[in-house]
Symmetry: C2
Subunit: 340 residues, 2 copies
């Protein structure tokens, strides 16, 4: 057993409450000689307060729950870094849950956080639409609703959710701006690698992109695929396979940078040069792109800051607040037209 406050008190020759007052911030400060005696005893015994017991009586655990789909994905790990920074500032400990895009695991994660009486929860991860997901999601939201009603905080990174704080990336707007920028550069032929059907983030980006195109009289085909490097790879391969040989390849807009990277790999494998034979654009501007060649055109999202802001909103306690994360187009070599 670890050292308890009572043991420290006993060694110091005082009562347990007195030891508590000395060691763990209290409104009352005992006399100097008592303080010293307790400090000495605690030091000698190597006392470390039991956070569980403190949480139980204080009804605050100093814990922050973070839900991500895949911590090895640099999109999420960058967000996690921002959340961590905020947590550090707020003196909170982060509990991490990885869901692998499984709504059931997502639900389980949130329940675990509630079970640990986390002070706040941040959910970074795209949402699903559709029946099956909606059912599980309903239960998840029920839980979160009760959670915030109990004076806890919850924030989502993604589309707004009724009653929760949110940091919402400008998916539609960013994708639309990208489409316009590409159109301005003279590109006319597009294919959207749109991610898995039912995924809100992918759908929004696809919608924003195609809507902007349509406004200028251009249409684009959509090719679904998993929201991963391999998903992008396979989707792109499919596109290339169907391509009439000799034709100029279209510009591929992958709704995610990791998909774009996969698409770039597929292009390389197919012997297509970027951007001469095929153009590629992504979304997110993950840090990996910094040294990726050729430079990938993308839409920048302040991921670290988004994590930070979400964690701050979740821990502010002032009800549900929403913020938008600005998306900015970043044009790089991968969409360069020969003319310009």
């Amino acid at each position: 057993m670890a050292v308890t406050l009572a043991q420290v008190a006993s060694l110091a020759g005082v009562s347990q409450p007195t030891a508590s007052r000395v060691l763990n911030g209290s409104a009352r400060t005992p006399a100097p000689h008592v303080v010293e005696a307790v400090r000495k005893a605690a030091d000698q015994l190597g006392y470390i307060a039991n956070a569980q017991a403190q949480a139980l009586v204080r009804s605050s655990s100093r814990l922050l729950g973070l839900v991500v789909h895949d911590i090895a994905d640099s999109y999420f790990s960058t967000i996690a870094a921002g959340v961590e920074r905020a947590a550090e500032e707020r003196q909170l400990q982060v509990m991490l849950a990885v869901t692998g895009r499984d709504p059931l695991r997502e639900l389980a994660a949130v329940q675990t956080f509630i079970s640990h009486r986390a002070d706040a929860v941040v959910m970074a991860g795209s949402q699903w639409s559709g029946k099956a997901a909606t059912d599980v999601r309903g239960r998840l939201l029920d839980n979160l609703e009760r959670f915030v009603d109990d004076k806890h905080g919850a924030a989502v990174i993604g589309p707004r959710v009724e009653g929760l704080s949110a940091v919402t990336p400008e998916n539609r707007r960013g994708a639309g701006a990208l489409a316009n920028a590409l159109l301005d550069a003279g590109t006319r032929d597009f294919i959207v690698l749109s991610g898995p059907p039912g995924l809100v983030t992918g759908a929004e980006r696809t919608a924003g992109f195609t809507a902007a195109l349509k406004r200028r009289g251009v249409t684009a085909r959509r090719v679904p695929g998993d929201l991963s490097r391999d998903g992008g790879f396979e989707a792109a391969q499919q596109v290339f396979a169907e391509l009439p040989s000799g034709d100029v390849a279209p510009c591929l807009f992958a709704v995610t940078d990791v998909m774009a990277i996969g698409a770039a790999a597929a292009a390389r494998l197919a012997g297509l040069r970027i951007p001469e034979d095929v153009q590629i654009a992504g979304f997110d501007d993950i840090v990996t792109l910094r040294d990726f060649t050729p430079g990938l055109t993308t839409v920048h999202l302040p991921l670290e800051e988004m994590g930070y802001r979400a964690a701050m909103l979740a821990t502010e306690g002032a009800g549900a607040r929403s913020e938008r994360a600005p998306a900015t187009v970043v044009l790089r070599e991968s969409t360069l037209n020969p003319g310009s």
Copy 2:
């Protein structure tokens, strides 16, 4: 306030212990109709057990502490993914702490974990030698020692530590094998980007590399630098600046892939082609390299598996065990010699 077991019991018309027996696995199972009544009441109220209270009485928190230097670094995030997988298997919740390579924050993180009475702790992060670090580290190890004496588990990813479990990457051996492979390929001129002075991992890799070189009569200069992309960038820039123009550049061995990526960026900026004008090799084989061009020669480490194994060792309870993580040389284009 959240729903308590007593409330559930009251609604179900039974006593609190009975409700406890129904809802949270006990040796005794109440009568079927009682079970049903309790289940129904719990469902109706949306009862979620208070993990803090359970931890207090069970003296097991089902928490696993993970210490990393930088969660946004794909080296650590990959390890974290492995730890998460193990935690999921063991039904543990991961608490994440980020230290930014600061020994003091490392100490604070471990104390927080102990304070939360984590069942196990995994420390992924290179260790420091030197006086200042040794002092803080001593206190850290004192804490961990008491921790494991209390029937808890602790594992380190990195050089072995007395009394703790460890997953130790073959730094020396891997770096030596890389040196030999490069020598075999005909390369003779090397510079080691050795990371920050005092960092054990960097030192080991540097030592393994130079020792293998020396065995075959080759010596190499060392250039220190931060263990990051920018650190590699700056170190490489320094090397290039000192390079007599027209000379063939040496092969740069960066003790970390992220440094190697930085070095590659510096090379590109300096107008040096890889591998024609300068060769570059790294260490770790982080996932980012998969689609990096040119393909970077490196030493592969099974990072995800290392995280997994460390977490398993930490939670096995069978005293301190050690494993070695195999390092395998991966030759790619970045060290191709024109002759071969």
